[in-house]
C-alpha cells in the first residue's frame, strides 16, 4: 500500500497548524452538539419509562373491562386466579406484583380542597412504596390504619394537614354515583417529581368499598420486572398464555390507525368500538403507554441530523474555501510534484486524504468533547420538583450514545468533507505542471 500520499497529506495538515485547528475545531463543535443531542435522546426514553414504571407501579400491566347491565363500561378485575395461573404458565420471571384501583377525587380539609388521583394499593404489605418513597413525617406503622392515606409534601402543604388529620374525599363510584370517604393521613412523602407530587396512595380495600368494588377485586395488575427492556417479551408471553387459557383479550398487535398515536390508544379505540360480554383483558407495557415519548426521541434524532447538515453546510463552505486557498498557496509545489512524475489522480487523492484526516480528527475530538460535557452535566443535581425530573435518572441528566449512531455521524462528516474538498482537489489535479511552475505568488 502506498503510504506516501497519506503521509504528505498529514504533513500538509501539520504545516498549517492554525488553519487545521480552526477547521477541525469547527467540525468538532458540530459533532459535539449533535452527539450531545443523540446522547440525550438515547437515555430519554429509558429514563422516562423507568420513572413512569415506578409511578404506575409496574413495567407490564393487565387490566379488565366489563359492561354493567345498563351498558356502562367499567374497569375491574373480579377474579385474578386465571391471570395468576397464566403468569405462572408464561414461564417468565418478575420482581413484584401490584394490585391497584384508581379514582380521581377532591380532597377536602377545613375549607381547602385539591383534585387528586387516588391510587389504592395494599399499603400494609407493599414493599415498593417503602423502597421508593421517603417520608418527611408520619410513620410506616400508620399504614396499618384501614383508611390510611399517603400524601406528597406539596399536597399536604396545600391542604395544611399533618399526620393523624382526617381528610374528606369526594369522588364517583365505578358506576358514576357520588360518594364520600374519610381518610386519615398516615404519612407525608418527599415529592419525587412533579408527577410524583400528584400521586396519593390509599388502602386498596377501603377505596374499593367506597368505589363499589368488592373485596379482592381491583382495576389493574402491575408487574414489576428486573429490567425494563424485558417488558415487551414478557407482555407477549403473558398475552399468549392468557389467550391460551381462553380469556378474552384486546389485540396487542392492533395496527395503529391514523388517529391513534400509541399502541395503548389503539387498544382503547378498539375497546370503544366494540361490545362484549364478561370481562375482556388488556395487556400492555409502560412503553406502549409512552410510545409518544418515543416519537420525541425520533424527533430529537431527526433534529440532530438536520442540525448536523445545516451546521456542516456552513463548515463545508469554509473548508472548501480553505482548501482552494491551500491549493493556490501550494501551486508551485503541485507543479513540481507533477513535473517529477506525480499523476493527476495522486494530487487529487493527496487533497482528499488531507480532508479525510481533518474530518476524522475533528469528529473524534468532537465526540471526546461531547463525552466530557456529558460527564460534567451528569454531575448536576436537579430539583426533585422540577418538571424535567421525569426525564432524569435519580435526579441527574444521563446520556447514552449508541455506538453505531456515533460511527454514522463520523461517516456523514467524512463524506461531506470529501464532497466539499473535491472541487479544489480536482482543480489542483487538472492544473498543467508548466503553468503551475510559472505561477508567481
Amino acid at each position: 500500500m502506498n503510504t506516501v500520499l497519506p503521509r504528505i497529506a498529514a504533513r500538509n495538515l501539520l504545516r498549517q497548524k492554525k488553519r487545521t485547528i480552526l477547521l477541525a475545531g469547527a467540525i468538532a463543535f458540530g459533532i459535539m452538539i449533535v452527539t450531545l443531542i443523540n446522547g440525550f435522546a438515547g437515555s430519554f426514553i429509558q429514563n422516562v419509562s423507568e420513572n413512569f414504571a415506578y409511578l404506575l407501579g409496574g413495567h407490564v400491566f393487565v387490566s379488565g373491562s366489563e359492561y354493567t347491565a345498563s351498558g356502562r363500561r367499567i374497569s375491574v378485575i373480579r377474579d385474578d386466579s386465571v391471570i395468576m395461573q397464566a403468569l405462572a404458565d408464561s414461564g417468565q420471571k418478575w420482581a413484584s406484583l401490584q394490585k391497584t384501583s384508581e379514582t380521581t377525587a377532591t380532597l377536602i380539609f377545613e375549607g381547602k380542597s385539591i383534585r387528586q388521583n387516588l391510587t389504592g394499593i395494599d399499603l400494609t404489605h407493599s414493599t415498593m412504596l417503602k423502597e421508593r418513597l421517603a417520608l418527611t413525617s408520619g410513620s410506616w406503622d400508620n399504614l396499618a390504619w384501614p383508611n390510611a392515606i399517603i400524601l406528597s409534601q406539596s399536597v399536604a402543604k396545600k391542604l395544611n394537614v399533618l399526620p393523624g388529620d382526617t381528610v374528606v374525599a369526594q369522588f364517583q363510584t365505578v358506576t358514576g354515583q357520588n360518594n364520600v370517604g374519610e381518610f386519615r393521613v398516615a404519612a407525608i412523602t418527599v415529592d419525587s417529581s412533579f408527577v410524583g407530587s400528584i400521586m396519593t396512595y390509599v388502602q386498596l380495600d377501603y377505596l374499593n368499598s367506597l368505589s363499589g368494588l368488592g373485596k379482592g377485586e381491583y382495576m389493574s395488575l402491575g408487574i414489576m420486572l428486573d429490567k425494563l427492556d424485558r417488558s415487551g417479551t414478557f407482555a407477549n408471553s403473558l398475552y399468549t398464555s392468557m389467550k391460551g387459557m381462553g380469556l378474552q383479550l384486546f389485540d396487542r398487535s392492533t395496527k395503529q390507525d391514523s388517529g391513534s398515536t400509541t399502541p395503548f390508544q389503539s387498544m382503547i379505540r378498539e375497546q370503544n368500538s366494540e361490545t362484549w360480554t364478561g370481562t375482556k383483558y388488556r395487556v400492555f407495557t409502560v412503553d406502549d403507554v409512552l410510545a409518544q415519548a418515543k416519537q420525541i426521541v425520533v424527533a430529537l434524532d431527526t433534529a440532530s441530523v438536520a442540525i448536523l447538515i445545516v451546521l456542516f453546510a456552513i463548515v463545508m463552505i469554509g473548508i472548501s474555501n480553505s482548501f482552494r486557498m491551500a491549493m493556490y498557496e501550494r501551486i508551485r509545489e503541485i507543479g513540481t510534484m507533477r513535473a517529477v512524475g506525480v499523476q493527476r489522480n495522486e494530487i487529487r487523492s493527496m487533497f482528499l486524504y488531507e480532508a479525510l484526516f481533518l474530518a476524522l480528527a475533528g469528529a473524534v475530538a468532537g465526540i471526546i468533547l461531547a463525552l466530557i460535557v456529558m460527564g460534567i452535566l451528569s454531575f448536576i443535581t436537579f430539583d426533585p420538583q422540577s418538571p424535567v425530573f421525569l426525564i432524569l435518572k435519580r435526579g441527574h441528566l444521563s446520556f447514552y450514545l449508541p455506538p453505531l449512531q456515533a460511527l454514522g455521524n463520523i461517516l456523514i462528516i467524512a463524506v461531506l468533507t470529501l464532497v466539499a474538498v473535491y472541487a479544489p482537489a480536482n482543480a489542483a489535479a487538472k492544473m498543467p505542471p508548466a503553468e503551475a511552475l510559472r505561477t508567481v505568488k
Binding site: 354493567t68 345498563s70 351498558g71 356502562r72 377532591t106 377536602i108 375549607g111 380542597s113 374528606v168 369526594q170 364517583q172 363510584t173 358506576t175 358514576g176 354515583q177 357520588n178 360518594n179 364520600v180 370517604g181 367506597l210 363499589g212
Partner: protein, 265 residues
C-alpha cells in the same frame, strides 16, 4: 206537632238509621278528602318531572351561575342552554368567563361531549359532571327523571318556610344515578319542588338545593332561581338564575357538533 212527635216516637229505628247514614257519609267524605290530599307518591314524582318537561317543544334560556368559595373571589359562569326534551338532547354553550367562552356540552344519543375551542377537540363528559367550576351539575339543566330513576321509600308531611310540603325520601333504582338517595320537599299546592337534598352512597348529605323562585312559561312552572349548597365543603355554594327563557322552535342543527364548533369560533 204532637202528631209529628208521636210519629217520630212511633219509628225510632228509622231515625237511628238516618243519623247513621249521615254519619257514614260524612266520614266517607272526610276519608275521601284525605285520600285526595295525599297523592300517590309516584304520581307526585311524575308531576315534578312534568314541571320541567318541554316534550314537543324546544326550550332555551341563559343561566348565570355565581359561585362562592371561602377565601376566593366570587366566580361568574354564564351559559346558554338549548333543550329538545323529545329526543333528550341538550347543548350548553359557555358564555362566561371569557377564558372559557365557546366551550360547550352536547348530548347526542347517550353520549355527552365536551368541546374545547382551544384544542378544537371533543372529549367524553357526563351529565353527572359539574358544569365548569360551579356546584351545578350538567343534569341540573336537563329534564329531570325522578319517577324513572327512584323509588319512594317514605312520604311525609312537613314545612319549608311557611309552605306545607310533601317530603319524599327516594332511593335509586340503579347504581348509575348521581345520588343514591335524594330527599325532595314538594310544595302541596301548587305542586312545585322547593328543596332537594342529595346523599352519597354511604348516606352522607352532599348537596342541598333550594328553588325559591319560579316563573310560568307555557303553563309550566319553571325554577328561575336555584341555590346549591355544598354540604361537604362547607361555605361553597352556587346561585343559578335563569333569564331569556323561550320555547321558540330551534333548528335541528343546534344539537350537532358542527353547530358547537361553528358558534365557538
Amino acid at each position: 206537632m204532637p202528631s209529628f212527635s208521636a210519629k217520630e216516637n212511633k219509628h225510632p229505628s228509622r231515625n237511628i238509621v238516618f243519623l247513621l247514614a249521615i254519619a257514614f257519609s260524612l266520614a266517607a267524605g272526610v276519608i275521601s278528602a284525605s285520600a285526595q290530599a295525599k297523592p300517590e307518591p309516584k304520581v307526585l314524582l311524575k308531576e315534578v318531572d312534568n314541571l320541567s318537561d318541554f316534550t314537543g317543544k324546544d326550550f332555551s334560556a341563559v343561566f348565570t351561575i355565581v359561585t362562592q368559595k371561602p377565601g376566593e373571589k366570587d366566580s361568574v359562569t354564564q351559559a346558554r342552554v338549548f333543550r329538545r326534551d323529545q329526543k333528550e338532547q341538550f347543548l350548553i354553550l359557555i358564555l362566561l368567563p371569557e377564558v372559557n367562552k365557546g366551550q360547550g356540552y352536547l348530548r347526542e344519543d347517550d353520549n355527552v361531549w365536551f368541546y374545547d375551542p382551544t384544542s378544537r377537540k371533543f372529549s367524553h363528559s357526563s351529565v353527572k359532571e359539574n358544569l365548569q367550576n360551579t356546584k351545578a351539575k350538567n343534569s341540573d339543566f336537563t329534564l329531570s327523571s325522578f319517577a324513572e330513576d327512584y323509588t319512594v321509600a317514605s312520604m311525609n308531611e312537613g314545612m319549608v318556610g311557611k309552605f306545607p310540603v310533601w317530603v319524599l325520601d327516594l332511593r335509586a333504582n340503579t347504581n348509575e344515578v348521581s345520588y343514591d338517595r335524594v330527599v325532595l320537599y314538594i310544595r302541596k299546592d301548587p305542586t312545585m319542588l322547593l328543596k332537594r337534598e342529595d346523599y352519597s352512597v354511604n348516606g352522607r348529605l352532599m348537596r342541598t338545593t333550594a328553588y325559591p323562585k319560579y316563573v310560568e312559561i307555557e303553563g309550566k312552572l319553571l325554577s328561575s332561581q336555584i341555590l346549591i349548597l355544598d354540604e361537604i365543603n362547607k361555605g361553597e355554594k352556587s346561585q343559578i338564575t335563569m333569564a331569556e327563557q323561550s320555547v321558540t322552535p330551534l333548528p335541528d342543527k343546534v344539537f350537532t357538533k358542527a353547530f358547537l364548533e361553528q358558534v365557538s369560533r
